[in-house]
Every structure is written in C-alpha cells, then in structure tokens.
C-alpha cells in the first residue's frame, strides 16, 4: 500500500516584487510504499528542499496533490496540518534544528509534550530509542555540549519518538564528517530494516546508496529512478554515480 502519493506537483515561486517567477517544481509524480527507504537526488537548486517542504505541509504547492496515508494535506487547516505533522511525520534536518535551550532529552520529548502525552509514557518511549541510537549517556546534555553526529542522532530520536508513519530527512549527512555520516546512515538502514518508511533528500551518492530506491530530479521533474533490487551498497553506489554522470553530461532518459 502506498503511504505517500505525489501527483503532478508544481511549485512556482514569485519573488517579492512579483515580477520574476521561478518554477522550482514543474510536475513531480511518484509514490512511496510502506517500509521503503527512498532517496531523492538532484543538483543544487533542482527543487529538493522545496519538494520536502511541500510534503511536510510547511509550504503549499501551486498545483498538484500530496496524499499521505490516503489523506490530502493541501486542503487541511493549519492547526490540523500541525497535528498531522506531529503525529505522522518525523523530521531530520541538515543543521539538526535542535532547540539550544533544551537538553537533548527535552528536545526529543518536544513532539510528545506538544501532543499532550503524560511524562511517564515519554520515558517509556525514549529508553529503547535512546539505547538503539547510542545516546543514553548524553540525554542530560545540551546541544552545544555534544558533537554534530550526536546532535543528529538526537534529532533522529526526536523524529522517531512519535512512531511516525514517515520520516523526512533533508541532507541529514550534510553537516557531518564521514565517520558520523556512516554511523547515521547505518542507523537509517537499520531503521529501514525494522520497517520504518524513510524519505531522504541528499547530494551524497554514498548516502543514497543506503536507500532501497533512488529518485533523480531534474528540471522540476522526476527524471529517473533506480531500484536497489538485491545489489550491495557498493554496487548501488556505482549505479548511482553512473546515473549522475549521465545526468550531468545531458544523457538520455533511461
């Protein structure tokens, strides 16, 4: 069953003065099945962040529709969207987006607190996740006291704590060194194996090679996609970089 369906999504940005128009997305169509780990790749400025923002209902599309778990988000009121986002989506961002005024623990609790859950339940939810992500000892620390990789793991924990249907990740490894990137990608791969649906936007071929499917965006459309099948990460890595070379040299659509 499709957990996410994106149909002919178009997004046109009008600059403040209203004269110049930028078409960030022209017609994006794809769907994500439950349990998939999808990576979206594309050049800088190809509209990846725009797409993710629309999926998260942080931004509205110019036309087209987004069905999340069968529900059209574009028509909902802001309060309903916020509640939906809280209950069904988890976010991981390039620059972590932890609140510097909270300890890691409280940062992770944030979505649950906003949902009005009792504190005992929060603790129950947290301990297996913290254990899995290896941040048990860091929970009482503040974001400025821990490394980037640790921050990102806390951010993943925050995304997971609501047991969301879908995790949206925008360049999650973008601000990490290679060791931390590897750790994070391993974590995402593990989550995927445990059945978590993940949609990740990335520049990094290495990051994408952990996914079960890779979508390429160009000129505001889905240009190409690669299924992993049963190849290894290394083989997938090769396939992705070949595709990117082809895209860059203006090759034909496969």
């Amino acid at each position: 069953m499709s957990i996410l369906e994106v149909n002919h999504l178009q997004k046109v940005y009008t600059t403040r003065l209203g004269s110049a128009k930028v078409e960030a997305l022209r017609s994006v169509t794809f769907s994500v099945e439950e349990g998939e780990f999808v990576a979206i790749m594309g050049e800088s400025g190809s509209g990846k962040t725009t797409l993710l923002n629309i999926l998260a209902a942080l931004d509205k599309p110019t036309s087209g529709s987004v069905l999340l778990d069968g529900q059209d988000l574009t028509g909902l009121k802001e309060s309903a969207v916020a509640a939906f986002r809280r209950d069904n989506l988890g976010f991981v961002f390039q620059e972590f987006n932890l609140l510097d005024t909270f300890t890691l623990e409280d940062n992770i609790y944030l979505p649950l607190v906003l949902a009005g859950r009792p504190h005992r339940e929060m603790q129950q939810y947290l301990s297996p996740i913290a254990h899995q992500l290896g941040i048990n000892d860091l929970l009482k620390k503040y974001p400025y006291e821990v490394s980037g990789g640790q921050k990102q793991r806390a951010a993943v924990a925050r995304a997971l704590i609501t047991h969301p249907k879908l995790i949206l990740a925008d360049e999650p490894t973008g601000a990490l060194d290679s060791k931390s990137s590897d750790e994070l990608l391993t974590i995402l791969g593990d989550l995927h194996r445990l059945g978590q649906t993940i949609l990740m936007v990335t520049h990094s071929v290495k990051a994408a090679s952990h996914a079960s499917r890779v979508l390429f965006i160009k000129d505001g459309e889905v240009f190409h996609q690669i299924y992993r099948g049963d190849v290894t990460n290394e083989q997938l890595y090769q396939k992705i970089s070949d595709t990117l070379t082809m895209l860059a040299t203006g090759g034909e659509r496969a």
Binding site: L52, N53, S79, A82, R85, R86, L110, H119, Y142
Partner: protein
C-alpha cells in the same frame, strides 16, 4: 578617511534598528541636561520667592541626568557592540587590521556622538521654552520671558556629554585591540551555556527584599526615616537585581524539576526558554523595575504634594497673619506691654477677625518616660541621648488656652493638660526637669498646634497649666547665653485673619515690617527678635517648592522613562533575532504559527510585566515611608495620596503596555521577517 566614513555610515544604516534608538536616547539625555542647565540659570527664577529652592534643586537634577546618562549609554553601547561583533570579525578576516578597525570604530562613534549631541541640543533649545512655560504654570507665577539660547549651558552640556561619548569611543577601540578577530566572528555563534540557578543569590535577594520592606514599613519617626530610607532604597535595588538575575532562573529551574508541571504543552517551551531570557535580560529588567519605581515614587509623591499644597498651607499657617516676638525677661510680661502692642496692631490692621493672643514658653530637650530633660549636662554621658526623643515642650497658661479654644477646664495648681503632636505620652505625671511632677489630667493627641510648631518636624508637647509662673519658676529666661543649660524661651504670639483675600494680606506686610521696633520686645544682640508670617506670601514659596519638586520629578521621569523604553526595545529586538530560529524549528516539530505566537507572547508578556508588577510591590511598601516623609512637609491627606499613587501606577501601566505593544511589533517583524530555509 572617506572610506571609513562610508563604512561607518553603512554600518549605522544597516543596523538602524540598533543605532537610531541609541542616537535618539542620547539626544533625549542631552536635551534634558541642556533644559535643566538652561532653566537653572534663567533670570526668571530669581524673580520670585520659592525660585531659590528650584535653583538649588535643578543642578542636582542635572547631575542625576549626567550620571544616569553615562551609565545608560554605556549599557546601550555594549549592547550594540555585542550585536556587531560578527560584522567586525568579518571585516578583520577580510583583511582589516586592528588599526583600521579602530579607525572605523572611531568614525562610527564620532558620527553617533555628533548626531546625538547636535540633535539633543537643537531639541533642547527648541523645547526649553516649553519647559519653562510648564515650570511657570506649576509654580503659578506670571512672569515674562523671551526666547534665548543659553551659551554656558550649551558649552556645559557639550563638554559633559562629549566626555561621556569619548569614554565610549575609547572603550570600543580598546575592545578591538583586546579581542581576537576570529573570536569576534564566532562570538554570536557559540552556543550559550544553560544558566545555572544560583540559589544563594536568589535566597539572598528574597531575604534582602523582605528586610528592606520590613525596614520601610516599620519606620515610625520621620526624622529617623531619612537614614533608614536610604538604607532601604539601597537594599531594594540590590534585592531587585538579585531577584531578577538569580531568583528568576532559580524559579524556572524549580518549575523544571516538577515534571508533572514542566512536561505540559503550555509550560514546556515557555519555562525552558524563559531561563535563557531571564539570564540575559535579568539586569535589564531589574533596571526597568527600578526606573519605574523611582519614577512612580517621584511622580506620585511630588504630585500629591502639589495637589495637597493648599491643605499643607492651611495646616502650617492656620492664620492669615502670625506675629511672634520674644520676651527677654519675666519683668516684661506685663499686661500693659501686651495692650500697647495689641493697640498698635489694631491701628495697623484695623480689620481683624479670629484673633488669637497668647504667651508661650518653650523648652527643648529629650523626652523621657515621664518628663523632659532640658539640660544635657544632667545626663551621665551624651551617648544616652536618643535622637528620636529630642523635641519641644510648649507651655501656655490655662487662661490663654481657654481663650484660644473657647472651652473651660478645671485644673488644680499641680495638674496639667498635655497636647501631643508627632509623639505619644502615657505616664500619669509630667516633670519639667528640676520642677515638681505635674499630674496629667488629660492627654489630647494632635488636638491643636501652636503657631510655629506646625512647621516643625520633631516631637512636641504643649503643656497647659493654671500656674504658669510657678511651673516655670525654676527655668532661666533665654538671653542667648545658654549659661545654665536650663533656659526657657518666652514669646508673645498674636495671630489673626483679615477679610478681603490675598490683596489685603499682602498689603499688611510693609506697615507691619515698618513697626518692628515698636512691636517687638526690645532687641537681642543688636537685632529685633520678631517673626512675621503672612500666609499669602508663604503660599508662593510653597508652590515654588512643591511645584518645583514636581517639575523636576517630571523632567527626571522623562529621562528615566525614555531609558526604560529603550531597554524594552533592545530586549525585543535581540530576542527577535534569537527567536527567529526557534520559531522555524518549532513549526517543523508540529506547532502551528498561532500556538508559537501565543507561547512567545506569553513569555514576552511575563518578562515585560514582571518589572511593572515588582515596581508596584515596591511602591506599595514604599508608601508608608513616602507618607511619613511627606508628613514632614506637612502633607496630611492620606486618601488623596492613595488616589494619586494608584492613578500614577495605572497611568504608567497603560503607558508601559503601549510601549510594549509598539516594540513587540518590531519584534514580530523580525521573527517572521526571514522565513525558514530548510
């Protein structure tokens, strides 16, 4: 140089949110200083009675403005520097040397200082007339005046404020030399340590505040109040700073420990963010609180005095005309002497009503349980002197007293009536040191005051005796030598009203003054001992004093309020920049814009209204103290003062809310100005 000028101008323009208010507040300070300086030298002040008081007060006001301005401009300047560090760091990374940066700072500071001083001076010159007009109005005098520029005040203001700005510039340059440019670049990016609760300081703050409040309400004697008042003020200031800086953080930490309370949607974000807000703003908020308190105390008490001046005049001068003259010896206490003077007065002022005439003996000394010690030599040592017990005993004969009050009393020769003012008396007998104990038939508190006593501030007691000569026989009559230490001052007092209002009162001044020789009982030390109070003339002095106090109160209030507004504004702006990021994150984890706005609103509201509330509390506890201080100035209308104080508070609350509203618009413009980029 041209490059620096351009860079500096650019810097100022780009950071106009920071610089324009800074220039404006500088101008307000300069303006106020110039106005006060110019007023204190205005010829108008010399033209009327009561102006002397203002002439003495205005320079004090000027210094308050200068000192306050120095502190305050330093505060604002460091705020700006903190915000600009990044930019300077960038310049230095791009290849500007420390010398270049110093020159840039110099230019920039010269620009802002020049703008502030020029603008302030122009405003001051333009508004000085308005202030003078206001002053004249308050003092209720009609005096001519013309437009002018006061050269000396211009120079004085320019020099003093030039000095302040010079110090600011030096500090800015010093900072450039002392800090590492890379550090400048990172300084705003570095994560901020979570504030630790300092329980010791928080507790100390609470303790000191309670102590200060206790002091303030337990003061009984107005004279003692002056020193205690000072102690209490200092304590309150320290306590306010401690409470806002340490107490607030401690409170938030306490709330965070209560998990049931903390992990609730309404409290979670507010409490956690508040810790940081309070840590960063504690000092600023405490300053606001103190400024508000000062302004409120100043305005409500001076306004009360001003409105209640008429009452105070009537209390102090119950009669239109009062004449007091000393009698240098017992031999002169004869009916003929009085009759001659009475006749002369009838001649000089033919229309007299409510005439009161009496002879009054007075001794000063230290009250004991059951009497008064007149000769300090009788004490074993001077350390036994209790300041608050020093006061006066007035002695009048039963006959005079009955004539004054129109009542009759039955008193035996060893009996007396006691009329107390500003003191209590409980013992069954009263002894004038060296005399026989007199049985107290009745104590009448605040029943009646004798002439000059109404103007005094110390405890006093009027002793009514049927045997004036006998009771005072052991006392020497004051001849200005104080040889025995047991002197009594004898005075003949004559008071009356005249029909026909102010004109006819004032008309009496010259004729009475011209007959000093005949009215007084012989001279002492070459001069005549004679005092003449005409109420209408005193009134001018009263209004000069009270109106002047109120006027200075208003002027200083303007300065303080301007400062408070700027602190609020800067808070809002800096908060805005920081909240921008949080705003975006919270939205992503599932808060609606309205929820976020509400949460931020409630935090900001708490933060900004806390100083007002604490100022209200300070004011409440300062009230008894203010009341007692005002009583020393013969103000006695408690309901009026309560109403005036409450009104001042409400008016300020409204103004404060308006300022808050205006500045929070700037805040929201910043918070929602730049949209999140994921």
């Amino acid at each position: 140089m041209k490059l620096y000028l351009k860079l500096a101008l650019d810097g100022v323009r780009k950071n106009h949110r920071l610089y324009f208010p800074y220039i404006l507040i500088g101008s307000v300070m300069v303006m106020m200083h110039y106005i006060l300086a110019a007023l204190s030298s205005t010829p108008m002040l010399r033209q009327f009675e009561g102006g002397g008081f203002l002439r003495a007060m205005l320079p004090m006001g000027m210094w308050v403005v200068v000192i306050f301005a120095a502190f305050f401009l330093f505060y604002c300047n460091s705020f700006i520097i903190r915000q600009r560090n990044r930019e300077l760091g960038l310049f230095s990374v791009l290849g500007m040397s420390r010398k270049n940066l110093s020159l840039l700072m110099l230019t920039e500071n010269l620009l802002t200082a020049g703008a502030s001083i020029t603008l302030g001076m122009l405003l001051g010159i333009a508004l000085e007339k308005l202030a003078e007009l206001g002053m004249v109005r308050l003092i209720a005098e009609e005096i001519s005046y013309e437009m002018r520029i006061d050269g000396i005040s211009v120079i004085r203001t320019a020099v003093l404020f030039g000095g302040i700005y010079l110090l600011l510039t030096l500090r800015a340059i010093f900072r450039v030399w002392r800090t590492d440019p890379l550090h400048l670049l990172q300084s705003t990016a570095v994560g901020e340590k979570p504030p630790k609760a300092n329980w010791l300081f928080a507790g100390l703050g609470a303790g000191l505040l309670i102590w200060a409040y206790h002091l303030a309400i337990s003061i009984q004697q107005p004279l003692e109040a002056l020193t205690t008042f000072f102690v209490a003020v200092v304590l309150v200031i320290i306590a306010t700073y401690l409470l806002f800086i340490a107490g607030s953080v401690a409170l938030c930490r306490l709330l965070q420990r209560n998990r049931r309370y903390y992990y609730k949607p309404n409290h979670f974000i507010s409490v956690a963010t508040m810790v940081y807000r309070m840590k960063r703003n504690g000092a600023g908020l405490a300053s606001i609180c103190i400024l508000l308190t000062v302004v409120l105390v100043m305005l409500s008490s001076t306004l009360s005095l001003c409105i209640g001046a008429e009452d105070a005049i009537l209390t102090t001068y119950p009669h239109d005309v009062l004449i007091e003259t000393h009698i240098p010896s017992r031999e002169q206490m004869t009916g003929e002497n009085y009759a001659a003077r009475r006749a002369l007065l009838r001649e000089l002022a033919p229309e007299q009503v409510n005439v009161q005439e009496y002879v009054r003996g007075s001794v000063s000394g230290m009250f004991t349980e059951d009497g008064i010690i007149i000769d300090a030599g009788a004490l074993e040592d001077l350390s036994m002197v209790v300041m608050e017990n020093i006061g006066m005993v007035y002695i009048v004969s039963q006959q005079d007293f009955e004539q004054l009050t129109g009542r009759t009393y039955t008193l035996a020769a060893d009996e007396c009536l006691l009329l107390t003012s500003r003191m209590d008396y409980a013992a069954p007998t009263f002894t004038l040191q060296g005399g026989a104990p007199l049985r107290v038939q009745a104590v009448m508190p605040d029943a009646w005051q004798l002439g000059a006593d109404a103007m005094n501030m110390f405890p006093a007691l009027t002793l009514v005796t049927p045997d004036f000569a006998g009771v005072t026989a052991h006392l020497a009559i004051d001849d200005n030598n104080y040889a025995s230490g047991m002197e009594m001052l004898l005075a003949w007092c004559y008071a009356f009203d005249v029909p026909g209002g102010a004109e006819s009162q004032l008309a009496l001044y010259d004729p009475l003054k011209n007959h000093v020789r005949d009215l007084s009982f012989l001279r002492r030390h070459g001069g005549y001992s004679f005092s003449l109070s005409i109420r209408e003339m005193k009134r001018v002095g009263f209004y000069g004093t009270y109106g002047g106090l109120f006027f200075i109160g208003i002027m200083l209030s303007i300065v303080f309020i301007a400062a408070a507004v700027l602190i609020i504004y800067y808070k809002q702006v800096s908060e805005g920049y920081e909240d921008q990021k949080r705003f975006a994150i919270m939205q992503k984890v599932g808060m609606t814009k309205r929820e976020i706005r509400r949460s931020i609103n409630s935090q900001v509201l708490t933060v900004f209204f806390a100083p007002l509330l604490l100022a209200g509390l300070h004011l409440t506890f300062a009230f008894p103290l203010m009341w007692k201080l005002l009583m020393m100035l013969n103000f006695s209308n408690m309901p009026l003062m309560i109403v005036v104080t409450a009104c001042s508070f409400v008016v300020f609350g409204v103004m404060y809310a308006a300022v808050y509203k205006m500045t929070s618009n700037a805040y929201y413009a910043i918070v929602s100005g730049k949209q999140d980029n994921t």
